[in-house]
């Protein structure tokens, strides 16, 4: 292998590593995004169980009471 060929191969390897590093950075950001769904799911669960089920009763007085309690209990 000539020196020029060797230099080419080394440069290609370095480029490849740079791309991998960038891919890891992007993947880490995407993993973190997915982890954040946990809090979103918990918030939706809380709203459904604490609010929507009582609201389904369509009793205005009870609706006001439930909404008021939900807000003060956050």
């Amino acid at each position: 292998m000539t020196t020029t060929e060797l230099a080419h191969r080394v440069r290609a390897k370095i480029r490849e590593r740079g791309t991998l590093r960038e891919r890891v950075r992007v993947l880490e950001a995407e993993v973190q995004e997915n982890r954040q769904l946990n809090r979103r799911i918990a918030e939706l669960t809380d709203v459904v169980t604490e609010l929507l089920i009582p609201l389904e009763a369509r009793d205005q007085e009870r609706v006001d009471e439930v909404l008021g309690r939900f807000r003060t209990g956050l």
Binding site: R35, N38, R39, A42, E43, T45, V47, L51, G73
Partner: protein, 514 residues
């Protein structure tokens, strides 16, 4: 080799053993030279912690010793800063303060009298009972209080609060967050004032007879895929059997539940050297565990501290008190008889002005510091402003306000709010706008610093106008007015590119008719 004390910090011999610093005969800070300092001529220079600096002006006695106090490295009268008064680290009421292990300034038990200590322990006991009876979780004493009880049979001298943990049955982070919401609700119903610090960490506020408020942290602990996680930020190997069933320990006459194997818990928390006192101890948490806990449980209050600092500090006075030019521009466009809600109200300068014009006004912000300022100002001026917390990073908070506003017609007003929000919170601003404005035909008025995000003071960033317009339109809104030109920033300093927007969220059928 000697120690030198100056405005820059302490020049100490290089070493890995902790040192304790007293000012005016009272403990204020502990440090480990090679960890906290940088090599300098004559030793290692450890800078004063930022939280201490405001107090370091005047003359007084500084003493540097080993943790037991037997080896004295320095004990002399010094003059620091430009002040001529007495050097002392005390709060407004004269209580002694010290730097705690997470770098905050707090009162420590060493400066807490017996009656107050008794209140703290009785309050902690009551918290455990309420958590068990009303929130359905079994809590155990942990961290400093556990260490003090096991190692010394008393509260640690340099500790400043008590910490409780409960071992969750759940293994999915979403379930753990939902459980923490239930705990919050149950404890509020029992009359506790509290702060939600993350999806798995609640701070109970216990008022003490000396006017101080003690924080009782209630941390979730849980296993996910075999790894043990315990808030604050701990993660590693600790089996359930090391925690349950609990054993008990006595602390100053009170009996507390503690992990079944307290020594295993202490080694997990503080390492194998936990029996040797080290007031300057800092956690070495595995970064992978911290990343997971950040992703699962945190994000809605990342910048809250910065804002609270602004509202409770001297920089608040840099925000003018009168109405902004934007408020004066918006006022004639507000709906007849319709209320206005100032979203991200800050010091409340515009909300208070709207109220003075005789308009029904609400003011919301995510910072409790802001809400305190607005309430006090409204009261002082005899104005009625409905003040409430809105955390746009929290879906529950956004939905709760959206539901209320859908039935109570408002215009929404938000000056320099957009530049404070992350992508998730910005999306929830559009959700709130749609919920609030669709039924009543109200408007959203926005002012923001336009442009590509660049270096900022960490409070307000520039936002590209396209991003804002796209967000409004994607959520069903219509931009009725948009200008970009010279204007004012949050402090009324000139800004060359300020964007003003008026947007509406027409009901779906009225959009079809247009």
């Amino acid at each position: 080799m000697t120690v030198a004390v100056s405005d820059d910090g302490l020049l100490v011999p290089p070493g890995e053993s902790p040192l304790v610093v007293e000012i005016d005969g009272h403990y204020v800070w502990s440090l480990t030279p090679v960890r906290d300092g940088a090599p300098a001529a004559g030793g290692v220079l450890v800078p004063w912690p930022g939280v201490l600096r405001p107090y370091l002006s005047g003359r007084g006695r500084v003493r540097v010793t080993d943790p037991t106090g037997s080896a004295v490295l320095y004990d002399d009268e010094v003059g620091l800063g430009a002040g001529s008064g007495e050097l002392a680290v005390v709060d407004r009421a004269g209580h002694r303060l010290s730097v705690d292990k997470v770098g905050h300034l707090a009162r420590s038990f060493a400066d807490t009298d017996e009656q107050v200590r008794e209140e703290i322990l009785a309050g902690t006991r009551r918290a455990i009972d309420d958590l068990r009876e009303h929130a359905g979780v079994a809590a155990y004493l942990n961290y400093g209080a556990l260490l003090g009880a096991v190692r010394e049979g008393r509260m640690l001298a340099h500790d400043s609060d008590t910490d409780l943990c409960y071992l969750s049955e759940h293994t999915s982070p979403a379930d753990i967050v939902a459980e923490s919401y239930r705990i919050t609700r149950a404890m509020r119903a029992q009359g506790w004032r509290l702060l939600r610090m993350s999806g798995g960490d609640v701070k109970l506020l216990l008022p003490l007879s000396d006017g101080r408020v003690c924080h009782i942290d209630v941390f979730a602990a849980f296993h996910v895929n075999g790894t043990f996680f315990q808030l604050g930020n701990r993660s590693g190997d600790l089996p359930r059997s090391a925690i349950e069933p609990f054993s008990t320990i006595e602390l100053h006459g009170h009996e507390f539940p503690v992990p079944r194997d307290p020594e295993a818990m202490l080694a997990f928390l503080y390492g194998p050297q936990w029996r040797t006192p080290d007031p300057s101890f800092r956690y070495a948490d595995p970064p992978a565990g911290v990343r997971r806990l950040d992703g699962w449980l945190r994000g809605f209050r990342t910048e809250m501290g910065r804002w609270t600092e602004l509202y409770n500090g001297p920089r608040r006075s840099a925000v003018p008190a009168g109405p902004s030019s934007f408020a004066e521009w918006v006022a004639p466009q507000l709906g007849d008889g319709r209320a206005v809600l100032d979203v991200g109200t800050g010091t409340g300068r515009d909300a208070l002005w709207f109220a003075r014009q005789g308009r029904r006004t609400g003011a919301v912000d995510f910072s409790r510091g802001s809400l305190g300022v607005v309430r006090r100002r409204a009261k002082r001026r005899g104005l009625e402003v409905e003040v409430d917390q809105l955390i746009l990073g929290e879906l529950r908070s956004t939905l709760a306000h959206g539901t209320r506003l859908a039935r109570d017609p408002h215009d929404l007003y938000a000056r320099h709010l957009v530049g404070c929000l992350d992508t998730a919170a910005l999306d929830q601003l559009w959700l709130l706008s749609r919920m609030a404005l669709r039924p009543s035909g109200g408007r959203l008025f926005l002012e923001l610093a336009a442009g590509e995000p660049g270096p900022s003071d960490g409070l307000v960033r520039r936002v590209p106008v396209d991003v804002v317009r796209a967000g409004i339109e994607a959520s069903g809104g219509v931009v009725e007015h948009l200008t970009v030109g010279p204007g004012d920033d949050m402090f009324d300093l000139p800004d060359p590119a300020v964007c003003r927007i008026r947007a509406a969220w027409p009901a779906p059928d009225s959009q079809e008719k247009r």
